[in-house]
């Protein structure tokens, strides 16, 4: 049918109102459109204008039924392969022009089936656009004019050239609209599917990134769901448990670690989950013999657990506690010593002024020992050094009125404390009544005498050049310390004599581990 009547001039140009196609709609060839056209009763093809020659990428059954071609024969062809050689060039040019401009178009055309039978059809073409208004698909529907096969005929009983065409044009508009709505709906579906997939991919990549971060941190990290099943376990947490993460995931915490049921860990976990509040606590695991610090954070999924091995820290804290306790102990013992010293001094004092002077001197003697002990955290005091420091306030000058000879001996704190007091008392006496006045001198010597149990310190204080010593006034406390205190506290023996030319004091104490020792490498008796 060559006479297309008023349709020749009646090309219906839709306003070029591009479909707001969702942006992700750009994959091709697009199998996603197949479902859109598959069930349509109207013979329809989809082409892809972004491929060379705008080939057909999708075709429905109605089209194959109409034309007699198989899908394989249709796919890859141009939309106009049905037009045949006799197609009106003016019409095909109009179609091409409309497509170039991405306008929708309806034309009346003679097409041919595979067996060569001519079919009069109305062709509707509409374009699908992406966000940037670029055509990504064209949808073309061919509607057969009934009774046209084999020659000119009427369409639905209406004569060609009559008023059937306006009706057809209306049908075509509706068809295009229906197509467009279908495509839009499908696009929306596609978009949803793509968005879901994208989210899934993002979640997967986020999860991968999270896993990488979690495996790199030094703390154990776990998540459990509301049924107390492990949902995430990092390498550290698995290593602490002595298991592989895969073994733990999906398992119930309390089934996997039944020894923790009923423990603080169990209670805290349930508390955090039930009250939806974070908890933080320290827990000793008897099974692993280690201390852990746990942090539980409730989440919408269940609980997030951070696990930190603090065994080393706890050990350090314990050491610190022991050291502090030891220090406390020493301080309290020192206070007890000072207390007894003051009681003792007070009882013998003739006046408050007398007490003040004597007590201050004795307190100073203790302070001297204490500062030698605290210097550099020493646990021992050098005998020679202790002697010199205790004699420092007096007019004793080594090499002039004072001679000191002896090997290097290190004294334990309590030994040093007692001997420091002894030295102080001896020096005070010497200052008041003896060798440190009137040109006297003092010789202090000591040796280490070998014994079966580690040696004995023989220490001697010998004053000389003293005359007219006031025997009656001297040495009550010092004498008591030497004669009673040294044997009581240090063991061994001692002697305190007031001779005609000064005081002679001999102290002999076993150098047990608790008293003191010869400095390593030092020769005894030098």
């Amino acid at each position: 049918m060559n006479d297309v009547g008023p349709f020749r001039d009646g090309i219906l140009e839709e306003e070029s109102t591009p479909v707001e196609a969702p942006r992700a709609f750009n994959a091709r060839p697009d199998g996603g459109l197949d479902p859109v056209i598959a069930e349509m009763p109207v013979p329809t093809i989809i082409t892809d204008p972004n491929l060379p020659d705008d080939p057909i990428v999708s075709v429905n059954k109605a089209f194959l039924d109409l034309t007699g071609y198989s899908a394989d024969e249709v796919l890859g062809e141009r939309y106009d392969f049905l037009f045949g050689a006799g197609a009106d060039p003016a019409v095909t040019a109009q179609v091409d022009d409309a497509l170039r401009c991405n306008r929708d178009i309806v034309v009346d055309l003679q097409t041919y089936r595979k067996d060569g039978t001519p079919v009069r059809t109305a062709l509707f073409v509409t374009s699908i656009f992406d966000r940037q208004n670029r055509p990504i698909h064209r949808l073309a529907s061919y509607i057969e004019h009934r009774g046209t096969r084999g020659g000119p005929a009427e369409i639905d009983g209406v004569r060609p050239g009559g008023d059937a065409f306006p009706s057809l044009a209306n049908d075509a508009r509706e068809m295009i609209e229906a197509n467009r709505r279908l495509v839009e709906a499908n696009c929306a579906l596609q978009e949803t599917a793509r968005a879901t997939e994208r989210l899934r991919a993002e979640a997967a990549s986020a999860r991968q990134a999270l896993d990488a971060v979690l495996s790199s941190i030094s703390d154990g990290f776990m998540t459990v769901d509301r049924a107390w099943r492990f949902t995430r376990v990092n390498a550290k947490a698995a290593a602490i448990a002595g298991l592989e993460p895969e073994v733990m995931i999906g398992r119930n915490v309390w089934d996997l670690f039944p020894d923790t049921v009923g423990t603080l860990l169990h209670r805290k976990a349930h508390f955090a989950a039930a009250r939806r509040t974070p908890v933080e606590f320290e827990y000793f695991c008897p099974r692993l013999d280690r201390w852990f610090e746990y942090r539980f954070y409730p989440s919408s999924e269940g609980l997030t657990v951070l696990e930190n091995d603090i065994t080393a820290r706890k050990a350090a804290e314990r050491r610190q506690r022991v050291l502090t306790a030891e220090l406390q102990h020493r301080v309290k013992n020192n206070l007890a010593l000072i207390r007894s010293l003051s009681t003792r001094t007070l009882r013998r004092a003739r006046s408050l002024e007398d007490f003040a002077a004597i007590f201050e001197g004795r307190l100073h003697a203790l302070a001297v020992t204490q500062s030698l002990l605290s210097r550099g955290g020493a646990e021992e005091v050098d005998l020679h050094e202790l002697l010199l420091d205790e004699l420092l306030p007096y007019d004793a000058r080594e090499g002039e009125n004072l001679e000191i000879h002896g090997p290097e001996v290190l004294l334990k704190p309590k030994t040093a404390q007692l001997l420091g007091l002894v030295f102080h008392e001896l020096a005070t006496n010497a200052m008041k009544y003896g060798a440190l006045v009137a040109g006297g001198r003092i010789e202090v010597t000591w040796t280490i005498e070998p014994t079966v149990d580690g040696g004995r310190l023989d220490w001697r204080w010998i004053e000389a050049g003293v005359s007219d010593i006031d025997r009656s006034a001297s040495a009550g406390f010092g004498r008591d310390l030497v004669e009673r205190g040294v044997p009581y506290q240090l063991g061994g023996a001692s002697r305190f004599e007031i001779g005609s030319d000064g005081i002679r004091c001999v102290i002999q104490v076993p150098l047990t581990e608790n008293v003191g020792k010869l400095r390593p490498g030092e020769l005894a008796g030098q």
Binding site: R330, K332, N333, L335, L337, R339, S340, Y488, N514
Partner: protein, 126 residues
């Protein structure tokens, strides 16, 4: 001064430092106590527990580097009341002695009397 609750009792004093030992012994004398000791080391303390009739004992915890606990064990075995006199906090004591009466150094005569009397009552009373 009223007659103290400790008057006439025989109490062992174990203390390894001379001056505090002398002072506490004097305090106990003033309370009418017959002081056994003082003794400065583990051996003499153990001997005293074996050899003497004791109403009680006051134990310094650290004796020349040795812990006094063997003495405490022997006193427990004999059902002889005792208390610790120490500068250590209670947690340093072994578990079984943690609830035992304890005098914290330094202490005065009043605390000495009160804690010692309470310790002696504890065993004698039940």
């Amino acid at each position: 001064m009223s007659i103290s609750e400790l008057d006439g009792l025989r109490i062992l004093l174990v203390e390894d430092e001379y001056l505090p030992a002398v002072e506490v012994a004097e305090m106990l004398h003033l309370l009418g106590v017959e002081v056994i000791g003082p003794v400065p080391d583990l051996d003499s303390a153990l001997n005293a527990v074996s050899d003497e009739l004791l109403d009680g004992a006051i134990l310094d915890v650290n004796l020349r580097g040795e812990a006094v606990f063997p003495v405490a064990e022997r006193l427990l075995a004999r059902n002889t009341p005792f208390l610790f006199a120490t500068g250590y906090d209670e947690w340093v004591l072994p578990e079984k002695f943690r609830d035992h009466p304890r005098l914290t150094k330094p202490f005065d005569r009043l605390s000495l009397e009160r804690v010692t009397a309470a310790a002696l009552r504890r065993v004698n009373g039940g």
